[in-house]
Point group: C2
């Protein structure tokens, strides 16, 4: 399954609890689009969140994020990884 890295901006001040809630909101509905969100990392000072997922397409990733209430600013296919 292709992997994707998506980026959310404007998240300055995000807390551990808010990150967990957002991630859980994705997990609750990701199966509808055959997406799986593996991990997310947040820089609360710069307000940037990175999410790593496996999904059929970038559009599927975005549809889950939108329905969960936090549309991504960028969704990048990352076919290469080490």
């Amino acid at each position: 399954m292709p992997k994707f890295m998506d980026v959310h901006r404007g998240m300055a001040g995000i807390t551990e609890e808010q990150l967990m809630e957002a991630h859980n909101a994705d997990l609750a509905i990701e199966g509808d689009e055959h997406v799986h969100f593996e991990s997310a990392w947040a820089d609360p000072e710069a307000g940037v969140v990175y999410c790593l997922s496996e999904a059929p397409s970038a559009e599927a990733v975005q549809r889950i994020h939108e329905r969960a209430g936090h549309k991504a600013d960028e969704v990048h296919p990352v076919p290469l990884s080490v």
Copy 2:
């Protein structure tokens, strides 16, 4: 040990082999700064590479990347993760 996500731009067309070589160049010297590069993901079309590391500081991450020949465009501390 704090975690960091750094971002390299202008990498359009990067291949699996080039990503591996760059990662190995980091691994070869990372111990000098007590950094460990865990994973890297590349979008060859947009030319963006994301690197996840553990390190004492963002400056230590950048020093290793610079010495390895590929300075990062951004180095973000990511104290929150799920």
